[in-house]
C-alpha cells in the first residue's frame, strides 16, 4: 500500500501507475444485498402486524380468549368462536400423523437400509413424486374417488367398533378421517425425505459394530440407526405436522365444512384453513365476519409458527449431534 498515492480527483494510483478499481460498486452491491435481507425481515414483521390489526375487530368483539375458546361459529348470528375449528384442525392433523409418520419412517428405513441399491433411486423418486401433486388435485381425487370408495369400509368399521370412543353412528361422506387420510398422503414425502437424510448420516461404524456383534438387520436398525436419528425423525414429524395444520384446499374439499363439532371421527367437520378458504367469498361485505376469518388465519399462523419452532429445535439438535459425531471420527 505504501506505493499507492491518491491524487486530488480521488483516483488511487498504485505502483507502475495502474489505476485501482473503484470500490464504490462493491460497497453499493454489499448494501443492496444487505438491504434485501433486511427487507425480508421487515416484510414478515409488517405482515404479522397488519394481520393482527385487521383481525382486531373480532378480538375486540369477543375477546382474545373468547374468540379462541368460543365454540360457536355462527355466520348468520354474527357470533364467531374458533374452538371447533381449532379442534377440527388438531383432529385431522393427529389422524395424518398417526397414519403418515409410521409409513414415512418405514419407507425411509427401507430405502436407506434394506432396499436393493438398484431400486433405491427409483423408489425414492416415486415417494417424492407425491409432493409434486398439487393440493387441489388431492382434493379432486378425495372427493370423487376416496370418499365414495372408502365409505362402505368406514361404515363397517363404525358399526363393528362402535364401542371405541369417537367411533360409531352413521358415516358422513366427507369427514375428519378422510381429511386426515389425505393429509397423511401429503405429508409422507416430506417426512420420509427428511428422515432419509437423517438416517444417511448414521456413521457406518455404528452399524458395522452392531452387525459385527452378530445383530440381524432389524436389530442393527433398532440399536444403531433409530436411536441415532431419533431427534431428526421427531423434527421431520413436526415439520409434517406444520404442513398438515396449514394445508387448505384439499381439506376444504373433503372435510364437509360444518361448523358444528362432530361427535365421531366419521362426522363432518371444519378446520381453520378450510373456514378461511370457504367463507372468504361471502365475507367481503361483512366487516366482523371478515375480521373473524382473518383472526382465524392469525391463529393458524401462530399454531404453525409454534410447531415449526419446535421442529427447528429438534432438527438443529440432530445436526449438532452429527457434527460432534463427525468431529470424533476426524
Amino acid at each position: 500500500m505504501s506505493d499507492a498515492t491518491t491524487t486530488d480527483d480521488g483516483v488511487t494510483r498504485l505502483a507502475f501507475g495502474r489505476v485501482a478499481p473503484s470500490r464504490l460498486p462493491d460497497r453499493a452491491l454489499r448494501w443492496v444485498l444487505t438491504g434485501l435481507a433486511v427487507l425480508v425481515l421487515a416484510l414478515i414483521a409488517f405482515f404479522f402486524a397488519r394481520l393482527y390489526i385487521e383481525a382486531n375487530p373480532a378480538f375486540a368483539e369477543f375477546g382474545h380468549f373468547g374468540f379462541v375458546f368460543g365454540d360457536q361459529w355462527n355466520v348468520s348470528a354474527g357470533h364467531f368462536g374458533a374452538w371447533t375449528l381449532i379442534v377440527g384442525t388438531l383432529i385431522t392433523s393427529a389422524v395424518a400423523l398417526i397414519i403418515g409418520i409410521p409409513i414415512a419412517v418405514a419407507a425411509a428405513v427401507f430405502l436407506t437400509e434394506l432396499c436393493p441399491r438398484r431400486l433405491r433411486g427409483t423408489l425414492g423418486t416415486l415417494v417424492e413424486l407425491l409432493a409434486a401433486v398439487p393440493s387441489v388435485v388431492y382434493g379432486l381425487w378425495g372427493v370423487f374417488v376416496l370418499i365414495p370408495k372408502l365409505r362402505p369400509a368406514e361404515q363397517w368399521f363404525s358399526d363393528t367398533f362402535a364401542f371405541l370412543p369417537f367411533v360409531g353412528g352413521k358415516v358422513a361422506g366427507p369427514n375428519y378421517f378422510i381429511g386426515g387420510l389425505i393429509l397423511a398422503i401429503m405429508i409422507i414425502p416430506i417426512v420420509s425425505s427428511i428422515s432419509r437424510e437423517v438416517m444417511a448420516t448414521v456413521p457406518a461404524e455404528n452399524k458395522e459394530a452392531a452387525l459385527a456383534l452378530g445383530a440381524t438387520r432389524w436389530e442393527m436398525i433398532r440399536i444403531s440407526v433409530l436411536p441415532y436419528s431419533r431427534a431428526g425423525i421427531a423434527g421431520a414429524a413436526m415439520l409434517g405436522l406444520g404442513r398438515a395444520i396449514g394445508e387448505t384446499i384439499a381439506v376444504t374439499l373433503v372435510i364437509g365444512n360444518s361448523p358444528q363439532l362432530g361427535h365421531a371421527i366419521f362426522d363432518q367437520g371444519y378446520t381453520l384453513a378450510a373456514v378461511v378458504a370457504n367463507e372468504f367469498g361471502e365475507a367481503a361485505s361483512d366487516p366482523i365476519h371478515r375480521a373473524a376469518l382473518i383472526a382465524a388465519g392469525l391463529v393458524l399462523f401462530v399454531l404453525t409458527l409454534l410447531v415449526n419452532l419446535a421442529a427447528r429445535f429438534y432438527v438443529v439438535r440432530a445436526e449438532r449431534g452429527h457434527r460432534i459425531g463427525r468431529g470424533e471420527r476426524a
Binding site: F110, S135, W141, A273
Partner: protein, 287 residues
C-alpha cells in the same frame, strides 16, 4: 474358546417380519400415487380434446361448459411474474448470506426467518397480500399481479435456501483466485460465482416454480378468477388451480370432467418443470 452363537429362529423370524413391515410401508406410501395417476389418466385424458385447450370456460350451466384456455394462460402468466419477483430477490438474499453475512448475527437472523417463512401456510400468504394490497385500498381490487406477489412470497424461501446451498458449494479457491487477481467483489460475484453456480440456481428456481404452480389458496384472495382469457395483469385472471377448485364444487358431470382434464394438465406442467430441474442438476453434478 467360545463358539459363534447361531442366530436363534425367533430372532430370525423377528428380523424377517420387521423387514417385511418396512417393505410394506414403502409400498403403502406408493399406493395412493398409483391410484392418483391411474384416475388422472383415466378421467383426465377423456376430457382432453382440441376444443378443451382452445376455448375458455363459458360459465353456463347448460350446453357447452367450455375448456381451460384462459386458465392455462393465466397460470403461466401469474407464475412467470411470480418467478420474476422471487428469483432475483431469493438469489440476492442467498448471495448476501454466503458472500457477506456468512455466520454473522444478521445473517443468522435472516436464515432463521427464511426458515420460518417456509413453514407459513400458503393461505396465510394469501391473506397477507389481500390485507396489504386489496383491503387497504389504493391498489384497486383483485388483480393477477397480486396473485403473483403472493406466490412469490411462497417461492422466496425455497429459492433462497436452495441457492444458499449451491453458492456454498462454489470452491473458495475460485473466490481467492479472483480476489488475488485484483477483481473487486461485485465483479467476482457476477463473473465467477454466479456462472459457476448457475445450474444449481436454475434447479432451485424451477423447483420453486413447480411448488407455486399448483397453489390454489393464495390466488383465491388475490387474482380470483374470470372465465375469459386476459393478458392484463391488472385485471382478475383465471388460473388452473382455481378453475379446478371451482369445477370440483359443481355437481355437473361435464364440469367435473373439466376438473379432471385441468388437473391432468396441471400435473403434467409441474412434472415437466420438475423433470427439467432434475436433468439440469444431474448434468451439473456429472460435469
Amino acid at each position: 474358546m467360545s463358539e459363534l452363537v447361531p442366530i436363534s429362529p425367533r430372532r430370525r423370524r423377528t428380523d424377517l417380519i420387521m423387514r417385511g413391515i418396512f417393505a410394506a410401508g414403502t409400498m403403502l406410501a406408493l399406493v395412493p400415487l398409483g391410484f392418483i395417476i391411474y384416475y388422472l389418466l383415466r378421467r383426465g385424458l377423456g376430457a382432453w380434446s382440441w376444443h378443451f385447450f382452445t376455448s375458455d370456460p363459458t360459465g353456463r350451466f347448460l350446453g357447452d361448459p367450455g375448456g381451460i384456455k384462459s386458465a392455462i394462460i393465466g397460470t403461466i402468466l401469474i407464475v412467470v411474474l411470480a418467478t420474476a419477483i422471487a428469483v432475483p430477490l431469493g438469489i440476492g438474499v442467498a448471495l448476501y448470506l454466503v458472500e457477506y453475512g456468512k455466520r454473522g448475527r444478521l445473517a443468522n437472523i435472516v436464515r432463521y426467518f427464511i426458515d420460518v417463512m417456509t413453514g407459513v401456510p400458503s393461505i396465510v400468504f394469501g391473506l397477507f397480500i389481500y390485507i396489504v394490497l386489496i383491503l387497504s385500498g389504493g391498489f384497486g381490487g383483485f388483480a393477477a399481479w397480486k396473485g403473483s406477489v403472493a406466490l412469490s412470497l411462497l417461492m422466496l424461501p425455497v429459492v433462497t435456501r436452495s441457492s444458499e446451498v449451491v453458492l456454498e458449494l462454489v470452491p473458495n479457491g475460485l473466490r481467492e483466485a479472483g480476489l488475488a487477481l485484483g477483481s473487486p467483489r461485485w465483479r467476482l460475484i457476477g463473473r465467477v460465482i454466479l456462472p459457476t453456480a448457475l445450474p444449481g440456481l436454475v434447479t432451485g428456481s424451477l423447483l420453486a416454480v413447480a411448488r407455486a404452480a399448483g397453489e390454489t389458496a393464495p390466488l383465491l384472495f388475490t387474482a380470483f378468477a374470470v372465465n375469459a382469457t386476459t393478458f392484463n395483469i391488472g385485471q382478475q385472471m383465471n388460473s388452473l388451480p382455481i378453475q379446478i377448485f371451482n369445477d370440483v364444487r359443481q355437481a355437473q358431470d361435464r364440469i367435473v370432467d373439466r376438473a379432471w382434464g385441468g388437473a391432468l394438465t396441471l400435473v403434467v406442467m409441474i412434472l415437466l418443470a420438475t423433470l427439467v430441474a432434475r436433468l439440469i442438476s444431474r448434468r451439473s453434478h456429472s460435469a
